[in-house]
Subunit: 104 residues, 2 copies
Amino acid sequence: MTTNEVIEVNNSCPAEALLKMLSGKWKPQIFLRSQQGPMRFSELLRDLKGSNKQSVSVALRELEESGLLSKATITQKPLHIEYSLTEKGKAMIPIFHTLELLTD
Amino acid sequence: MTTNEVIEVNNSCPAEALLKMLSGKWKPQIFLRSQQGPMRFSELLRDLKGSNKQSVSVALRELEESGLLSKATITQKPLHIEYSLTEKGKAMIPIFHTLELLTD
DNA sequence: ATTTGTAGTCATCTTTTTCTGACTTATTGC
DNA sequence: GCAATAAGTCAGAAAAAGATGACTACAAAT
């Protein structure tokens, strides 16, 4: 064994796991954008002012890994990739609207 | 004017503001603990394994600033300070339970 | 008067996140 | 073939977050 891996114990803090799904500088905005329909990498890069390739790339991969977004290769016209909200992602929308009411 | 202050424009991303309230290494656990009743600084420091004065102090201040916790000086017995959940904080609990169901 | 308990702050160091710019691979248009 | 578009990766730099240890302030107890 040449690699050391730290095993993180999940301390059973419900909020923590959930918050990690959308934590980071760009994930909340990408999640918001995803509610408007499928989106492309270059499109996000253009629309998220102040963002960069690396960060958007990592955010998309992590949102995909946590099951909120799905990635699809569209084999048509200009041939591109689309990211869209999954069912799990859609289920989260009304909950955030409820939380929104509390911020006032 | 000797200080420069960066004015952050709130881009009206609902999830973002909400997530910021509980983002950070210790805030979710402190929020969880607050549901059990009032708590003290030294108590948190002892119970949150691996934490430290500085981080707990900052977390408490920010939770207070965002209106989830309130601070009270108890002028009795050993004279101490108590942090408790506000009404706003209490209103968030059921919502997090709902979100919890989605993680499975 | 010195120690103990409570609740911190401050400067500095370390770790984690985020940003930058150069480079890559595949497809399509000219 | 050559340039452009699309979707990235990678190494290194910069910025933000978190940890450490020393120090402060107040009240009560010995």
